[in-house]
Symmetry: D2
Subunit: 459 residues, 4 copies
């Protein structure tokens, strides 16, 4: 999961307890092919979508360029993602490119009801609301897929639940499906497993590992969100603080760079000797966690691993030590080990717990060990724009690819499209790209329009 | 080409004009199977080798670990590289691992005569001296290959000339050759072309693109050598200077980071939108060269392209502008265009020319547009150690690989070996790697000893 | 004014409309010599004070060291500052050192009612609540000063209002007053004016300009709060943004360093050529505001000057440009000029207004041009600890100074005490100071215990 | 001493052994009122001076502005400084401003003979050559001062030797002398001692402590020269190295910032708690030398103190540790303690010694513990330009000051002139200063032309 749910919901009346499934609602054109919290909130949602449009120039540029061609004409896309203003801009872009869409939410809490209402009002069959039950969740997905007289030919998934549902309930549908675009680490993992098992029956595109998405979701975004998340929760001063960062992948690199720049003294732990050597060359002491656990003021996990911070470590931390997780699961800190009778938990702020030892020592645990950057900071629209543009291009590519270009396998986004996503975001920075001359292109053996690098290039 | 020829030659007597090919020399054991400038310089060379050994702990560790096994027993390696103290440590390591070696120089200027003498004295058939003619160059290579009763079964090449010579003169030799290890960009390019053309008849390993080598040769090394090269040649102050760096690959990233840290204001040009977006996020204005050419104090090329800086650009630069090249050829600056009658050249220091326009404007051209980091700074032994260790491991891998693991194609170093090279260099930094627990390894689906990343991981 | 009011008030019942002046309240010991919102909130306030004590080790150390001596025995201090948990720790420290205190608030909004209640409960005569009227404000000050049978002999002021009141109403009181300690820029300015006019009748200590306070309040604190303030209000991404910072004093230096580190491209404007040259050497383009106003994404003022950003500048900014003030008044941006009929104001979040031009262009104005770091971020307790410790030491110094050491003038804190404040904060960082040997002290001509620098030293 | 002697001497014939004092030389105008190595080298020296002029625009601007006024008309300046191309530009500027000058060298090794010849050829009475004896040194000074029919009325000194000589030999001369301008730390120290003792009989200006000079000579210059000095002597790689920097004044701050930026891990030692706290906030671990001496790769002293690195420390360093001094004397490292029989010294390069312990451990000692930045790197002309401009303005100020403005005391350069020096160097960076409006100047209580800061401002 890579999106976040920045803006709060403005208009929810907390007293409306009726399940959306039990309501009879129609949009202003008379359609009732949707299920949202309250269609009357559409106007508020539309305003949010318009604001988001201003900050997603790449999608708006796609709309403009596609005015004549309609590269998605005939596409019937079923989607399952977070439903936010940014997603709405994506959906309406897909529509402008010629596609028909039906959509459900990939998370039971993350839907912005007003945005869902605005989409429904505009004629998108959306089935989602904030606070769905588990049963609601699958019901919504089913309503997207199981429609009289309409069958999807493209899947856009975030987490793999939609894909899983079709595999389980409507395997025959894959006969008409041209491809799956999957964005999340988890969903991609599932697809690779299907592929290994020989069960993947359509081409799938792993957009999670495109260069631009990776660098922005991880390195650049975490460089900022680690500072933001720590400040909002603890108001701490970074200068002079001793910090240990577990893991020196893109996320760890971003965290370390930011904290070093703010005057913290940063230690790094790693299991991979290559990343370890990078940490050394970037000016960080490479240690085992045990060596510094008694002296540090902050512990940050960025490993993707489990039990990186154990109860034993927590027992040895000094008073007021802050512990948080920037990796991609809630397993990195063994929080369960802190749920023992001798320790007292005190909630001091939203997302901030003091865990108190019998001798009075307090550990400051953020977001109960879940992702700090999802829970305690926001993701800039610019990052979401890159993700959404990548998804749109992946859909176009898979939908239009000539027979045989893609087999029943998992693919990375073609480098040229990755480059195209990047190029659509350069105007934001008033950045001016240099073009190769014919002579130079020939000298380098490159096409003037790219791709510019071999596939193994590391950036 | 990635090595450099740090130390000057201490003992060359400039008055010895006799060609080594015309000399009769024997080492102390009576062998004359070598051709070097002066065997009597061996003692000086040995001292240089001993100093280098102290700074190449990874190779020394390899020697120690291999004491029992001799993984290169039976290997007959013919090599063609720069001949420096660091190369000598590599060759003697290969010897300690069980290999027989014969060696020539890959560059007519780069041989350290004392080191060549020391190797010859130790019994290595070395054919190389500083200042070879073109004819000497091929003669030396031939003497390595064309030997009565000895036939190579491994090739270690830097630039592809040795490989080319065998292809041309002794194609039958490839029947016994198990593989080629190639280090340079140029040599690798040639191998890929052979492979595409279906003419590559043995497996080849591209060590140029291993992670550790790339990051050290380019990012980390250039981050330091750009400052060193500019200071040694011009004694300029970096603070407040306006600099344009052409190209934001690893070399460009290193140059930009260093100059920004020293207080320069840095502009970047790029052709690749992904690298361009990285430059933006790293805080550099992305421009076309024309936009800033009138105002900058320094122009640095790092593109690998040709004619990036043209006469037109040079005409528009301001007085005292410094122009230099950190890319990998001498083509980036169109130096030829400056050889016109109306411009005056004035050599003000070694490697520094003033090119003077009729109106008195002076451009400061460094190293005549050749590589600044090769000509005007030194490469730390630590970087050379990484390269040499990578070469040694690649030779071991290819030599010992079971039938069928490698076909007649170009391969990247297996990730596990790349990680091994890195791990051998961690002790230098007193860096302590964390080990996965069994439980964690299982959770991640990894072997505890690596490899730790998928092949497409970007670091 | 340098403090801030981090924590919100937890227990205020908004429906209690009775003025504290009309209430009859007693603390548990029966005293009614105080006036606070609600004495029953004392327990909540005490908890806040205890938390603050943990983060103000320097004051706690002062308490411990002074256990025998009571350097403020006999001191009768009247104070007028923000009333927060940190101030409470200061007041209770002054009490522990032997002083009697009476206290009012220096700002009608900034009092934390619970903390005021806790102080009253402990026996401190405190006259302050959140939301005083102008009349209340002076009434509270008067109640501190105008007491039967008690006359202050020391003043601790923040802003100069207390000092001004005594000058105006009770000038005779100065006969017994040993000195004034003043913390704010404004208050210090007033004192220098009194001194110039020959009207200052007691020694005054300018603690605003002590080294530690200046560096922490300005450079180190702003380096963090500029990022925090921008993120909390706008959720923007810093990478690649173009920013102009007006003013390169300590505040400007902090802002520039932080934004550069986060990947922004920063321009600087200055009127002082020395600071301008520093900006150049630190890697910032020095421009006039007009040169870049059309292209920047953010404008930050840090000058202390007025009308630095004019309506003309605002008219020329691009859509979505963010404008904010980090200087020390609300005059730097000409906000008044934006209150014209053709512009529409839209409040989009707390502290964030969109000002909309007729053509749809929006400027994002933060905190209506007031101080961003006071309105939209928090000041770490560590910084407040330095300020409070400095105040305590200044009071001790003036109170105990032998006759004649200080005349009727404004003094900077003696360097030795400035150094002492710093030394009390080093343990926080587990920092180990080196001591001079006798031989070294002699060589340098220094006392081993300091002061270590001449007065003109710049740090 | 703050200057350095960048360029080597090109034309010295080593075989000319005659003492200049024994030679009969005349310049082309027939004058023999000078004593230099060889008047025939004048042409080479003139070329060096012309190159320096191009890089000292501030002095050239002074010449231009003074064309009408001649603010030094009537001044008779006797000077004693390093004699380099940059000094020559200063002297000729003083001449252009109306002064008569006579000059000697302040160091027996630092004179560039060609430049001295060029000055003599132009009519400046210069008495200086490279390699003077102690006796020559004082003879030259005396020849500047003790002249028939000419008596100095201004002194420009660097180190205080000239001032000392006049005090000792010609005390009556001070009756006509209007002031002393002194540049070095040592000379300034002597003047303050004279002043304290009541023996200073004319006003003196301490230009060493002007803001611009301090920041450039120390912070900005050392930030670059520490890297340069280490690279040129040892070719080491900075990334990942552990470094301890002793002293966190301006020099230490510069060294730490540079090394941190290059990826070194930096520890700091300090005696002053204020500087110590700054080190903490800037992200450096504050330690005692003993705590890290066994683990560091480099030790750098920047204290101005003596015996900061003792034999005991040296005994405990690890093999290959590099030791060097960036402070302002050769006392910081106890080099004398290394001159014992059990240690072997090996000179491995110019300015680089290996000191070898009986167990084979080697310490790499740079410049025998003298100043690294003077011995092993160069000082950019830009820094020398700031120094020279400051000297010129100080001479103008003292010479033209109305009776009574300066007493027999040591003064800092008036802030307005410090600002003027800075402003003269801004065009180098194409930097555009903002001017106060009348309204703003009034609001701030400042003159529009400065000075802009109170004297205690720290920058």
């Amino acid at each position: 999961m890579s999106q976040l749910l920045g803006a709060a919901s403005y208009t929810d009346s907390s007293d409306d307890e009726t399940s959306p499934r039990d309501k009879q609602q129609k949009n202003s054109k008379g359609s009732s092919d949707f299920c949202v919290k309250n269609i009357k909130q559409a106007e508020f949602g539309r305003r949010e979508i318009e604001i988001a449009e201003q900050e997603m120039p790449a999608l708006m540029a796609l709309r403009k360029r596609a005015q004549g061609e309609k590269p998605l004409a005939g596409a019937k896309i079923v989607g399952c993602t977070h439903i936010t203003a940014q997603t709405a801009v994506l959906m309406e872009t897909l529509g402008a490119l010629g596609a028909q869409c039906r959509w459900a939410a990939c998370n039971i809490y993350s839907t912005l009801n007003e945005v869902a209402a605005a989409l429904a009002e505009s004629g998108f069959p959306v089935f989602a609301w904030k606070g769905e039950s588990e049963d609601d969740f699958w019901w919504c997905i089913d309503r997207c897929v199981n429609v009289e007289g309409w069958q999807p030919n493209m899947i856009l998934d975030d987490g793999g639940d939609l894909t899983h549902w079709i595999y389980k309930k409507y395997p025959n549908m894959f006969k008409k499906i041209k491809g799956i675009v999957e964005e999340s680490v988890t969903g991609v993992h599932r697809l690779y497993q299907l592929s290994k098992a020989g069960k993947l029956c359509v081409p799938a595109m792993n957009v999670n590992d495109s260069v631009t998405k990776q660098k922005f979701d991880n390195l650049y975004c975490c460089r900022e969100s680690i500072l933001d998340g720590l400040k909002r929760t603890t108001d701490m001063m970074f200068g002079g603080k001793q910090v240990v960062v577990c893991g020196y992948g893109e996320v760890g690199k971003g965290c370390c760079a930011a904290l070093k720049a703010m005057g913290s003294i940063v230690y790094v732990t790693e299991i991979d000797p290559i990343c370890a050597l990078q940490a050394c060359m970037d000016g960080f002491r490479l240690v085992k966690l045990n060596e510094v656990i008694r002296q540090v003021d902050i512990v940050i996990t960025c490993t993707g691993n489990k039990n990186v911070v154990t109860r034993e470590h927590l027992d040895r931390m000094k008073n007021s030590c802050i512990v948080c997780n920037m990796g991609h699961s809630n397993t990195e800190i063994d929080v369960a080990s802190l749920r023992t009778p001798e320790l007292t938990w005190e909630r001091v702020r939203s997302q901030v717990d003091h865990v108190i030892w019998p001798d009075g020592k307090r550990i400051v645990l953020l977001a109960e060990g879940r992702l700090l950057n999802l829970s305690c900071s926001t993701v800039p629209t610019f990052v979401l724009s890159i993700t959404a543009t990548t998804q749109a291009l992946a859909l176009i590519e898979l939908y239009n690819a000539p027979e045989g270009r893609y087999k029943q396998d998992v693919y990375l986004l073609p480098k040229k499209m990755d480059e195209y996503v990047a190029s659509l975001h350069l105007p934001t920075f008033d950045a001016h790209l240099t073009e190769l001359t014919d002579e130079q292109a020939k000298y380098l053996g490159l096409n003037k329009n790219g791709p510019f690098k071999p596939n193994y290039y590391r950036y």
